[in-house]
Symmetry: C2
Amino acid sequence: MTPATPSGSRSLDHPDRDDIRLAEVLHALADPVRLRIVCAIAAADGELNCADVALPVSKSTCTHHFRVLREHGVIRQIYRGTAKMNALRRADLDALFPGLLDDVLRAADLEVRRLGDG
Amino acid sequence: MTPATPSGSRSLDHPDRDDIRLAEVLHALADPVRLRIVCAIAAADGELNCADVALPVSKSTCTHHFRVLREHGVIRQIYRGTAKMNALRRADLDALFPGLLDDVLRAADLEVRRLGDG
DNA sequence: TTCATTGTACGAGAATCATCGTAGTTTGAC
DNA sequence: GTCAAACTACGATGATTCTCGTACAATGAA
C-alpha cells in the first residue's frame, strides 16, 4: 500500500511553539484522563510509553487522548520501535506560559491527596 | 428593611470550595471568550458588571459563559439591582490551586501581546 | 517467515458545548 | 402605574467530544 510517510519512519505532526495557544492547552488539560496522563509523564521525569500509563479507558480512547495532548502542544511523541514515547514539551510551555505547567501538576497532586483523604 | 442580599428568588448557586475540581476549572478557562471575561474581571480588580465586558457574542451567549464560570467555581455572582456583579473567587482558587489563577492571567496577557505584535 | 507487541484508522453512538433569537422576569427610576 | 435596563429561560442548531469495537499497520524478535 502507499505509505503515508517516508519509508522507514513514522512521523507525527506537532504544532510549532508559536502556534500553541493558551485556550487549547487548557482545553487539553481539562480532562481527568488527560490530567492523569500528564501527571504520569511528569512523574516519570522523561519519556514514557503509552502503555505504561494505567487508564480506565480502552486502547482507542487512549490513543485519542494522547493525540489531543500532542496536537495542542502539551506533549511530544516519538516512535521508537513498536512503542511510542511521550514527553512533556516543558521548554515550549514554560516559555509561553511561565509557571503554568508546574502549577497544574502541583494542583493535580494536591487534589488527589485532598480527595483521597476524604 | 431590605436585607443586603435578596433572601428569596434571586439567589444563585455556587459550588462550595470543596466541590471545586481542577479539571472543571481548567475547562471553564479553556475558552477564548471566558478567558477574556476572567481577564477583564481581574483587571477591574474587584467587581464587574456583566455588561461592562465587551465580547463578540450575543447577550444569551454571554449569560451562558458567565454561568459556566460560576458553576465551575471560578467567579462569584451577586445581584445588585438590575445588574449582576462578578468577582473572581481568588481565595478559594488560590487555596485549592496555588499560583494557578495568576499564571493563567499572566499567560493570557503574554499571549495577547505576543499575537498582537505579530 | 511467523508471531506478538504496540498503536492507528475508521466508523458510530451518546453526550456536551457554543451560539443564536425571541420572549419573559426582575429591578429601579420617573 | 409605566418604562427602560439588565439579565434569564427556552428551544434550536450545528459542531465538537468522549467513548467504544473491530480491523489494520509497523516494528522487532524467534
